[in-house]
């Protein structure tokens, strides 16, 4: 099956090679295709893919989406905007940049925020992202088919006060068109002492089948500060594979907020490396699944130098017959003394048929470190439920309230109120009976 899929993508590549972004080096595309030919797509025999079967993706013959034509329906985009938040907003449909729907793209001079296709700065790309390894088939696919995405470059010492919001909308308007795929690539480079806030939103036309295979690379130089949000709220028939790679230099800090709310089958890897002393990463994650959704979150944090810090806190709520996977690995390398690494994963099962596989892994090769990890899987707390009911709340309301509170824990400290509220709203949309608890969510 994997071979058939590889041939399909090789043929697709031949069909589209001439229209793909010219600024991306042809050699990298060639290397990526070579990787694909050699390795094929992962099967469940591979440890990293043990719980996630990607054959629903490789079985389907996704084709590159059409660029948006004259007729653009902006209603779905309007819902995704942060209406009360001043931000720089870039909108993509099926992987192609839509200038008409994007706004406020003027930035402080010296900073770059642009679509790759229109303004791929080959020199910047090469400087920051020239030697990335491929590592897995979907990264290879993204690298070969790379067509558009966002380049963010913030020079040394600069702060970009307004958040940068990147919206990727997938799907087709009528079912007669073939299911589309897109391979967005985001390249984010923060110079020394630079700072920015970036939100990636992935969504789709409701009920539409498509495949998003996104890849984000983040480079934070010494003292840089990044607030990074990724909100995956794809259509319930969509396939989403995503990877975020983060590399951090001395004293830089990245706060990552990872929300997986949608998709039929979704997999998201975050690979972070702390390569110089003083680097700190905070990973907050939330995944909500229901019906027959399958959502897999893999994180890898590598402490490569002394005095580096990571705090990871992921929560999941599973309902229906859904299945979630959490695999969090922290590696403390031998020279990374005085590392602090804490990881926790808490899961709430709302139905007897839902499942979660959680695997926190800690590999420590240094001896002077502070590390902790833990995972829990449970149901709603009976004592809390009884307390709320003894205060006149009916059972459904009490359940909904506790479920929402469990999820909200992950995002309640987000520093932009507009972002927090929008995310709370999105979360409420995925959880049972939240219409009953509106008065608790103001």
């Amino acid at each position: 099956m994997s071979e058939a899929a590889v041939s399909h993508y090789l043929a697709e590549y031949d069909r589209f090679r001439d229209v793909l972004a010219a600024s991306w080096p042809a050699q990298r595309r060639a290397d990526a295709l070579e990787y694909l030919k050699t390795h094929g797509f992962p099967t469940r025999r591979a440890e990293q893919w043990k719980y996630t079967d990607v054959s629903p993706i490789t079985r389907r013959k996704f084709t590159l989406g059409k660029s948006p034509g004259a007729h653009i329906d902006d209603a779905p985009v309007e819902k995704l905007r942060f209406s009360r938040l001043n931000c720089h907003e870039l909108v993509f449909m099926n992987g192609s940049f839509c200038a008409e729907l994007s706004r406020n793209l003027r930035l402080p001079s010296g900073a770059t925020v642009c679509a790759l296709q229109s303004n791929g700065n080959a020199e910047l790309l090469e400087r920051y992202f020239g030697n990335e390894e491929i590592g897995h088939a979907f990264t290879a696919l993204n690298t070969a088919f790379l067509n558009d995405g966002v380049l963010v470059h913030v020079p040394d010492g600069m702060e970009i006060p307004a958040p940068i919001h990147i919206i990727y909308l997938g799907g087709r308007e009528d079912e007669t068109q073939p299911s589309s795929m897109s391979h967005p690539r985001n390249l984010i480079a923060l110079g020394r002492q630079a700072s920015a806030s970036i939100i990636e939103t992935y969504a789709g036309i409701p009920g539409s089948e498509y495949f998003t295979n996104s890849h984000t690379s983040i480079q934070a130089q010494a003292g840089a500060r990044l607030d990074y949000y990724k909100v995956q709220q794809e259509s319930r028939r969509a396939y989403h594979i995503g990877r975020t790679r983060i590399s951090q230099q001395a004293d830089s800090r990245v706060d990552c907020h990872a929300l997986s709310l949608g998709g039929k089958l979704a997999r998201w890897d975050i690979d972070a490396e702390l390569v110089e002393p003083g680097a700190e990463i905070n990973l907050n994650g939330l995944y909500l699944t229901s019906d027959r959704q399958h959502v897999d979150n893999h994180t890898l944090v590598e402490h490569k130098q002394p005095h580096t810090t990571s705090n990871e806190h992921y929560r999941g709520i599973m309902n229906g017959r859904s299945r979630a996977v959490f695999n969090g690995k922290v590696i403390v390398h031998e020279q990374a003394q005085k590392t602090e690494a804490h990881q926790s994963n808490a899961n709430l099962l709302l139905s007897a048929d839902a499942e979660v596989d959680t695997k926190p892994e800690l590999e420590i090769y240094a001896d002077d470190v502070k590390c902790s990890h833990g995972a829990t899987v449970g149901r709603l707390d009976e004592n809390m439920l009884f307390y709320l009911r003894s205060r006149a709340l009916d059972e459904d309301t009490a359940r909904s309230l506790l479920t929402y509170a469990f999820a909200d824990e992950v995002i309640r400290d987000i520093r932009f109120p507009e972002i927090r509220e929008r995310l709370e709203h999105s979360i409420a949309g995925e959880l049972p009976d939240t219409d009953l608890i509106k008065e608790f969510m103001q």
């Binding site: 009911r389 003894s390 205060r391 009916d394 509170a405 824990e409 309640r412 008065e439 608790f440």
Partner: protein, 251 residues
């Protein structure tokens, strides 16, 4: 208002209540005392409707209705309030929003319109003074990180706002310093009236100096073995439970 007859309750095959009788009328204050593990909290939980108890015999009527037909929330809506011995912490659920939802659920049951934010705030302000509640506790998560005394005070504050008809206070005095004890007692006393009944579970006769009960009962090994007026509490304090137990055996 509340009539308990021959109540027998098991938890996981262990008999806890072994034929308990108690009648509480509107306007009365009853104190229940008894050794650790005798079943006081079990009684309170069964009355409030907690799951996991097996009622093997007996009956409880509240306002002439079978109490066991009602869900915990319906009991609360019909005026039963339990101040917990160990109030649970609920991260992420706002204390004051919960109280507002509780009050409005009770009002809805009584056919009254919900209070709006301003009206609710007025009630809250007034009751906060009554029990000397610290304002900073209002906007925190329910009981999360509250000190032992703050949790107890929060329970009494909720009671003051919800104005129950039957209040069951399970060791609300434990863990309170002497000033807090007085404030809480004053709060309870102002709620005392002829249409309301209060059941106090306590280990200390000290509380009964401030809230003077009409009746005192001794609960031992799942039964009420002796009832009297407040002088019984004084006598208990002097002579201990063995004295009543022996009296009960002799009788």
């Amino acid at each position: 208002m509340l009539t308990i007859k021959d109540l027998q309750v098991r938890i996981e095959n262990k008999q806890i209540l072994k034929g308990l009788d108690l009648a509480v009328n509107a306007g009365e204050v009853h104190a229940i005392m008894g050794p650790n593990g005798s079943g006081k909290s079990t009684l309170a939980s069964v009355l409030a409707g907690r799951d996991g108890y097996d009622v093997t015999a007996g009956a409880v009527e509240y306002d002439g209705r079978d109490l066991f037909e009602l869900s915990p929330e319906d009991r609360a809506r019909q005026g039963i309030f339990l101040a917990f011995q160990y109030p649970v912490e609920i991260p992420g659920v706002n204390n004051i929003y919960l109280l507002k939802a509780a009050l409005n659920a009770i009002r809805a049951h009584q056919g009254q319109p919900p209070l709006d934010a301003v009206e609710f705030l007025q009630v809250v302000r007034q009751k906060m003074q009554l029990v000397n509640m610290d304002e900073s506790l209002l906007n925190r998560s329910v009981n999360e990180g509250f000190s032992g005394g703050e949790k107890k005070r929060n329970e009494i504050f909720q009671m003051a706002v919800l104005e129950p008809r039957l209040a069951i206070l399970d060791e609300t005095d434990s863990g309170l310093d002497i000033d807090a004890l007085k404030t809480v007692a004053e709060g309870v006393n102002t709620l005392r009236n002829e249409s309301r009944a209060i059941v106090l579970v306590t280990h200390y006769q000290r509380l009964l100096n401030y809230i003077v009960p009409d009746y005192v009962h001794v609960l031992s090994d799942g039964k009420i073995i002796r009832s009297g007026d407040r002088s019984l509490a004084v006598e208990l304090e002097e002579k201990g439970y063995d004295w009543v137990r022996q009296g009960a055996k002799a009788a």
